[in-house]
């Protein structure tokens, strides 16, 4: 659907490989330049722009996604590393217009201001939500320490994640 994005792309010859991977449950087989990062593939090829480019250096966490369930900075994952991997992005959290409890918690607790870091924080918090362990505020903070929020909405972000975990426990 977005062939215009790549139609003009200069031929990269040997740098391209056909790679199979899964994003949000959907299987893709794409001929992609090996030098591309997962973030670029998501944003430019799949048009999944929820993961943001804040630094492209793995320093801000705005591009956080799950790679086989593990939190990664997608800007630091080269195309070669996503072969046969299961990737989950913020777009894959809500189901049929039903928001994930973490997303609802961020809305309820005003966990975002400008919102640019929000998808990254939600994805970084996702494994906490899946975990069976009871977590202290300090442990929540530690798990989110790789994500920057320049609005410094940290207080509301902590509140949002703690709220989601509490709701889950009470259910």
């Amino acid at each position: 659907m977005d062939s215009h994005l790549t139609s003009d792309r200069v031929d990269m010859d040997d740098n391209e490989t056909t790679t199979k991977f899964i994003v949000n449950g959907r299987e893709y087989s794409l001929k992609i330049d090996n030098r591309y990062t997962l973030l670029d593939i998501l944003r430019d090829h799949l048009r999944l722009t929820g993961a943001k480019k804040g630094c492209d250096l793995g320093e801000c966490g705005a591009c956080t996604v799950l790679l086989d369930g593990k939190v990664v900075n997608s800007c630091q994952i080269l195309a070669a590393r996503i072969k046969d991997k299961d990737i989950r992005t913020v777009e894959g959290l809500s189901q049929n217009e039903t928001l994930h409890p973490l997303q609802l918690a961020f809305i309820e607790n005003d966990g975002g201001q400008c919102g640019y870091c929000t998808p990254g924080f939600i994805m970084a918090a996702y494994p906490l939500f899946e975990s069976e362990e009871e977590l202290s505020t300090e442990e929540i903070k530690l798990s989110l320490a790789g994500n920057l929020c320049r609005c410094n909405a940290y207080g509301s972000i902590i509140d949002s994640v703690a709220y989601a975990l509490e709701i889950k426990t009470n259910e």
Partner: protein, 753 residues
């Protein structure tokens, strides 16, 4: 709101932020997320020299590269200007990172490859990376007018400081510096431009789409009617995201190539080509009577504006306002110098100069109270400016609106709850125990500090708002301002809904497109809630009248007495009613446009606050831990407590970067920024976030919409002096130079011994 209405007010409730759902879903669209068919990608060649003339540029090899469509250089662009001292591209570069040339190519890799093939012949010039060198007459002028902007300082004064200091029993003075503090918004600058042969559309992160449209028009020589500026969601700017070449370069490339062009800056470029908070050097002096009365305040500030002027004149003025107005005093003088250097440009950053000015003023106040042997809080209680304003004569003609940054005396405030802020904060922190804190054996020292501030209260430029009752029986508020993440859309909806007497969920907001919205000022100076709020209220009031008039005939009544709006439609006190749907189906959609110039001819509208902190200092490592932080604000009536609290907590935490961590380091030998990355320019993370208790003073401003005043920037003003004063209380060490890094704490303690 009508007395009969059953409407539950939205103002004062924590109505959910209206644009948050798209942000948590990842569907909210930011500029870089937008792609157009046949779009080209642009990349900028930046200067490696801090100061040089470009004698020539060889672009032949670059233009021949596959997939390269165009290269802009200073020698092939039109003569328009982005700002008075910023041409589209210039044959003089003034800092490492300044724009030299721009390439448009099919993809970013080809654009980067082309950049590498451009050859530039530079004539390297002498340069200066600090204000002192720039002011040295031997320095090469960075702009033709010289390195001191306007050739002299901005001077504001009231009374006579000579007389004031003559009356003084003591004079306390000191000098202070603040760092180059970068907003470093998580979203780097980006612009997407599309020229269709007659009309230009530009998408960009914007805090003022209408202002941006005018800049593009004047730079490119186009009629504003032929330009549309669209402001998608904005990854924040904190005041800093306008007045750059980014959108102008993308637009020119699109006009020349006939294809859409996207220019995205990377993180390093955002640090260099963005805008930082002005670093300052301030000398400040206060005259005191033995009883603690302040007889004079005099401050001189030198600000580093970097390579270009940007909003420097406004910033240098605002840095003086606390000095001129926070304390009751007949004799005050502020002198502000703005100086060019060959460093990245400084500009607007949340609270523009007020944090720098208040750091000097509020640190000095603590020193003053010590000389007087007076408690620092008591000193503030004794001297803070009261509701009656400053001594002196009003100079503004009676028929004119009072400036929100006055110098004159003789004008009262519309509301001033600074005293209440001091009281509430002192209670919350437990100021009474401050003199009795006992430190255990070991390296930890505990201390309590505070400071207070004054800031513009919200009146801004002329604001317009349009509101309509639509075919679907719902309402649309059509506004030209931008919500840059602070939540202004939400609070304006709350105010409009209450004015109409309907639930806020029935009001949509439409904005972010210059073709579709009435002209509106920039989201700047904490003016939105107040100014756009008044415009929205006026439009809603007019709409309510228009709806009631339209329904009179339909209900079959002769006059509008006793008619009011309910969530379902118009109702009379006798029980007749008509739904909004029936009204629009019979009368058609109804629309009103209001234009207001907010402000007061009788009162100064200002916001106030006081911050208190209890800290622990590790005297072995120099680390400062915040144990308790209390932020008390008089921002009038709080429209949305949860959003307001988020603004304060975020603002305080953001300024912990200014206080403890952040400084853009420029190598004096090369002019190169040494830490233009998040890794090296350390910003507060969630680990550094202190618990911040927010208290709003009981305050309703008689002039503000629903009693509200400004809140966006005020949280940023007091944090640094509050912490510095607590550090002094804990250790006896006063540090006058921010940031308060562990090594500066240790060094200062060593010097104390």
């Amino acid at each position: 709101m009508s007395e009969q209405s059953t409407h539950t007010p939205a103002v004062g409730t924590s109505y959910i932020r209206t644009d948050l759902e798209g942000k948590v879903l990842g569907t909210a669209e930011y500029t870089a997320d937008i792609a157009l068919p046949n779009m080209l990608h642009a990349r900028v060649l930046r200067s490696p020299h801090p100061h040089a003339n470009i004698l020539g540029i060889e672009i032949g090899s670059a233009t021949k590269l596959d997939g390269v469509f165009d290269v802009l250089t200073p020698f092939n662009v039109p003569e328009g200007k982005v700002a008075p001292d910023v041409p589209i591209l210039d044959s003089r570069v003034r800092f490492v990172g300044d724009e030299v040339a721009v390439v448009a190519a099919v993809d970013i890799d080809q654009a980067k490859a082309a950049i590498d093939l451009i050859e530039v012949c530079y004539e390297v010039l002498p340069f200066s990376t600090n204000v002192h060198d720039s002011l040295n007459s031997a320095s090469f002028p960075i702009h033709s007018e010289g390195n001191l902007v306007n050739g002299g300082p901005l001077i504001e004064s009231r009374g006579s400081i000579k007389e004031g200091f003559d009356q003084a029993d003591y004079v306390v003075e000191d000098s202070f510096t603040t760092p180059d503090h970068h907003p470093a918004s998580l979203e780097p600058r980006a612009a997407l431009a599309s020229w269709d042969g007659t009309r230009l559309t530009v998408w960009k992160p914007s805090r003022g789409i209408h202002a941006d449209k005018n800049i593009l028009a004047s730079a490119l020589g186009l009629s504003p009617n032929n330009i549309a500026v669209v402001g998608p969601a904005m990854g924040a700017g904190y005041g800093s995201k306008d007045e750059t070449r980014t959108s102008v370069m993308a637009a020119l490339l699109s006009i020349r190539t006939g294809r859409p062009v996207k220019l995205e800056l990377d993180r390093e470029e955002e640090f260099l080509a963005g805008r930082r908070r002005h670093s300052t050097y301030t000398e400040i002096k206060m005259g005191l009577k033995k009883d603690g009365t302040i007889t004079a305040v005099h401050a001189k500030t030198i600000m580093d504006t970097g390579a270009y002027l940007s909003s420097g004149p406004g910033v240098v003025r605002r840095a003086g306002q606390g000095i001129l107005y926070l304390y009751k005093c007949a004799n005050v003088k502020y002198e502000g110098q703005l100086v060019y250097t060959n460093t990245p440009t400084a500009g607007s950053y949340r609270a523009l100069g007020a944090p720098q000015g208040h750091f000097a003023l509020e640190s000095l106040s603590d020193k003053a109270s010590e000389i007087l042997n007076m408690d620092p809080l008591e000193f503030r209680f004794k001297n803070h400016v009261g509701p009656e304003g400053q001594p002196g004569e009003r100079t503004t003609p009676r028929n004119q609106i009072i400036d929100t940054q006055p110098v004159e005396g003789g004008v009262p405030f519309s509301s001033n709850e600074l005293r209440q802020c001091l009281k509430l904060g002192a209670e919350a922190i437990g100021w009474d125990r401050r003199d009795y804190i006992e430190n255990a054996a070991g390296p930890i020292r505990r201390g309590i500090g505070m400071s207070m501030f004054i800031y513009r209260g919200g009146p801004g430029g002329q604001s317009n708002a349009e509101i309509s009752l639509d075919q679907d029986g719902l309402f649309t508020l059509n506004v030209g301002f931008m919500d840059v993440g602070e939540g202004s859309s939400t609070v304006v909806i709350q105010m409009a809904a209450d004015t109409l007497g309907i639930p806020p969920a029935m009001v949509r907001i439409n904005g972010g497109h210059t073709d579709k919205t009435p002209e509106s000022p920039m989201t700047a100076g904490s003016t939105l809630t107040f100014s756009a709020g008044h415009a929205a209220m006026q439009a809603a009031k007019d709409l309510k009248d228009a709806i009631i008039n339209a329904s009179l005939k339909l209900i079959g009544l002769g006059d509008s007495e006793g008619l009011y709006l309910t969530p379902n439609g118009v109702k009379s006190k006798c029980g007749e009613s008509i739904s909004f749907l029936d009204i629009v189906h019979n009368a058609g959609p109804i629309k009103t446009l209001a234009s207001v110039t907010p402000g007061s001819k009788d009162y100064i509208v200002n916001s106030f606050g006081a911050h208190f902190a209890e800290i622990e200092v590790d005297t072995e490592t120099g680390h400062i831990e915040i144990i308790k932080y209390i932020a008390v604000h008089d921002s009038g009536r709080i429209i949305n407590p949860r959003l307001a609290e988020g603004q304060v907590r975020g603002g305080v935490s953001q300024m912990m970067g200014f206080t403890f961590l952040e400084d853009m380091e420029i190598d004096p030998h090369s002019g190169v920024a040494l830490n233009a990355s998040f890794l090296e320019h350390k910003s507060p993370t969630i680990m550094e976030y202190p618990e911040i208790e927010v208290i709003f003073a009981d305050s309703i401003d008689p002039i503000g919409p629903f009693g509200a005043k400004s809140l966006g920037e005020p949280p940023c003003i007091a944090p640094a002096p509050t912490i510095a004063n607590a550090l002094y209380h804990a250790t006896g060490v006063r540090i006058n130079d921010l940031p308060l890094t562990p090594d500066s704490v240790l060094l200062a303690m060593k010097n104390l011994l």
